[in-house]
Amino acid sequence: MKVLVAVKRVIDYNVKVRVKADNTDVDLTNVKMAMNPFDEIAIEEAVRLKESGVATEVVVVSIGGKESQEQIRTALALGADRGILVETGEKLGSLSVAKLLKAVVDEEKPDLVILGKQSIDNDNNQTGQMLAALASMPQGTFASEVKVADGQVAVTREVDGGLQTVSLKLPAVVTTDLRLNEPRYASLPNIMKAKRKPLDTKTPEELGVTLGSTITTLKVEPPAERQAGIKVASVEELVDKLKNEAKVI
């Protein structure tokens, strides 16, 4: 079984972004970049499927500029077998990304595609579901457990009310939630080995995908700042403030 994993280069999750003074975007100059945390979980799941003998090959794909090779190399160091960079300098929406991934799926014909549930930069939570629709595949989103058997995958999903399990016919799309696994760290020897693993580069034109978006960003602003509050000295003072000042209890 072949597993395809999509990884995105995003701002490191520890960084608090600032909005640019001209309100056109957030300021990403000299900001630390990393693999989207949900995609680390996706890679880990794929590698575990390979280690347990369920998967035979793990292919990793990223869409973005040349610098996204870094995240592909990280995935290769974590255990993926080969990488594909779809190189583009354009800032893409989830639909365009899904169309490019669909073209890669048509070429690679994976049995399972694993993505993160959400990019921590645009917070879209769309790409996996869109890819599944475009490829006419079923989807198991927000997965906290994935079990492959008999041409099906059972996915336990984190939903607002608790947990839901669905069974999907392969090929299928899975998107990861936080509790699916705890990603490993890449060891130094594996980082060295990853440098020799194959990494192909393709362009959107080669994949026959026309990019475009129906969305224009008019402005990006900082959120309303909260007023700094006060420290209370005791529980008694807290109760008094909540009752008589804030009047919320």
Partner: protein
């Protein structure tokens, strides 16, 4: 052009988040129709018909839609949605699951988690864990949108008298099936809609200690939430996680206990009206957003607080 709102429901009852989505639809302007897709869902459809401001309810009552599987919802909604200018759903795990499929099938971009409607084609939405707010304009023929509940008041659940029209949808996609679910049941208010929320973090130490928060919550009529760390450690189930990738809450009062205040947690609660933080570390970032901060050991402060209420 008219607006289609996809109801979130349990077949027997409408989920409150639908009321916030209807308010967003009314802010866009135009006739607002509501789709109730389910199985034996006439009770939910009748509730939808009573929402103030709703023009018409479409009810797809069929075993195919019993669990609102995304594959089937995608086919149904993309088909119906073609004749609408906007399709809206709540940004719940339900709406987040099927709406991008709808958008892809209609070949349009989706706008996720709007918190404001500026005009029929312009909306505001948080990005980067709420550290920036983007105002976006859509030129899509059908605008596919999910609505963050905390951005819009609930429409009145009573006062409307819309007609309910039964409709048929496409056959089951046949590629996915429902296996089972484990739903949390609680007598406390629902987290995303509660007036008061008490949340616990890693500082709680273990699951048993959450009893302290349940007791406090019951005295306040509050819901109980948690940080990711508390969920990951197995103290409480996943449906209690508040944050960028959990639930978004904006109650009148949010009490954070043993929570440090990481940006991902703040993203889910910093629009609360009044924030209280109880933490033994006076440097904890949660104090930067708290209206009232109490530097104390939670194991002393929480029982004391409960006693004094």
């Amino acid at each position: 052009m008219a607006i289609l709102v996809i109801a979130e429901h349990t077949n027997d009852a409408l989920n409150g988040a639908t009321l916030n989505a209807v308010t967003a639809a009314l802010a866009i302007g135009g006739d607002v129709d509501v789709l109730v897709a389910g199985s034996n869902c006439s009770a939910a459809a009748e509730s939808a018909a009573k929402i103030s401001g709703v023009n018409k309810v479409l009810c797809a009552d069929d075993a195919t839609y019993e669990h609102q599987l995304a594959e089937n919802m995608g086919l149904l909604v993309s088909d119906l949605g073609k004749s609408y200018g906007h399709i809206l759903a709540s940004a719940t795990t339900g709406g987040k699951n099927f709406m991008p499929r709808v958008a892809a099938l209609l070949d349009v971009d989706q706008i996720s988690e709007i918190i404001r409607v500026d005009s029929p084609d312009t909306f505001a939405r948080p990005i980067y864990a709420g550290n920036a707010i983007a105002t976006v304009q859509s030129s899509a023929s059908v605008k596919v949108i999910t609505v963050r509940g905390t951005g819009f008041d609930a429409a009145p659940a009573e006062g409307g008298s819309a007609v309910v029209e039964l409709i048929n949808g496409p056959a089951d996609a046949g590629i996915s099936s429902f296996v089972g679910e484990e739903l949390a049941s609680s007598d406390r208010p629902e987290l995303s809609a509660a007036d008061i929320v008490v949340s616990g973090g890693r500082g709680m130490g273990n699951g048993e200690n959450f009893e302290l928060l349940y007791t406090l919550a019951d005295k306040l009529g509050a819901a109980v939430g948690a940080s990711r760390a508390a969920v990951d450690a197995g103290f409480v189930p996943n449906d209690m996680q508040v944050g960028q990738t959990g639930k978004i809450v904006a109650p009148n009062l949010y009490i954070a206990v043993g929570i440090s205040g990481a940006i991902q947690h703040l993203a889910g609660m910093k629009d609360s009206k009044v924030i209280v933080a109880i933490n033994k570390d006076e440097e904890a970032p949660i104090f930067q957003v708290a209206d009232y901060g109490l530097v104390a050991d939670l194991f002393e402060a929480v029982p004391e607080l409960e006693k004094q209420l």
